[in-house]
Assembly symmetry: C2
Homo-oligomer: 132 residues x 2
């Protein structure tokens, strides 16, 4: 694994640690302030722009006593100053699959996009099912 | 809208045209051959690598008489040689939200990642619901 892959996976872990600890200050720090950001929480319409994205994290994390979420099987794909991490999120007994996108800003990886959706064991929609 | 945004949205449209027409040759052409690619179809585990990704498109598109899928509200975010497009997919009466990621290769935008998941009207999982 390259140094950059290690660095981006460390930021990815910090993201899940902030999420799990309802640490809004760290979450604010982890997301880019320099480019357009967006988030697609499972079952939400996409949110674009820092204000909407941060408001959603506040809504999800404020008042929650604990948000046990862990991230496993994280794999990083580095594309110059942009990186994609695909990982599995474990929330209590539910698994989601997520893609987190990062940009390198002043030597630090910052999150610019997060999309999470259900894995096969969940009750969900399947492009293949629909199309056959 | 910038020239690059227009160019990447044109490739994004070509992706949905290939999908809708079950045009496997165009789908092969649209995805990068130079970097690691991945796909997260809704309800599938993530697939990594060109062989797995293309095999999944073959599986979804082969034998289907028609795959009416349209893409609306596409917005492109250009990050140097990488671009993210968030859009709504309309499959018959179902809506999904997708993020498509592209890289610029020899002046052409090529797809490297696609993730689609259900929108709120679908029966799905919600991080906010789980955590509150």
């Amino acid at each position: 694994m390259s140094t950059e892959q290690q660095a981006v996976l460390k930021t990815n872990e910090a993201f899940y640690r902030a999420f799990s600890n309802n640490d809004i200050a760290s979450m604010e720090e982890l997301w880019s302030t320099q480019v357009d950001i967006a988030v697609i929480h499972p079952g939400w319409a996409p949110l674009r722009g820092r204000e909407s994205v941060m408001s959603s994290w506040n809504q999800i994390m404020t008042g929650a006593t604990s948000s046990p979420i862990t991230c496993v099987n994280a794999k990083a794909n580095i594309l110059g100053d942009v990186a994609l991490v695909i990982c599995t999120e474990i929330l209590e007994e539910i698994e989601l699959i997520a893609t987190n996108t990062f940009v390198l800003e002043s030597g630090e990886w910052k999150i610019i996009h997060h999309q999470a959706g259900p894995l096969p064991q969940s009750n969900n929609i399947h492009e293949g099912d629909i199309l056959h």
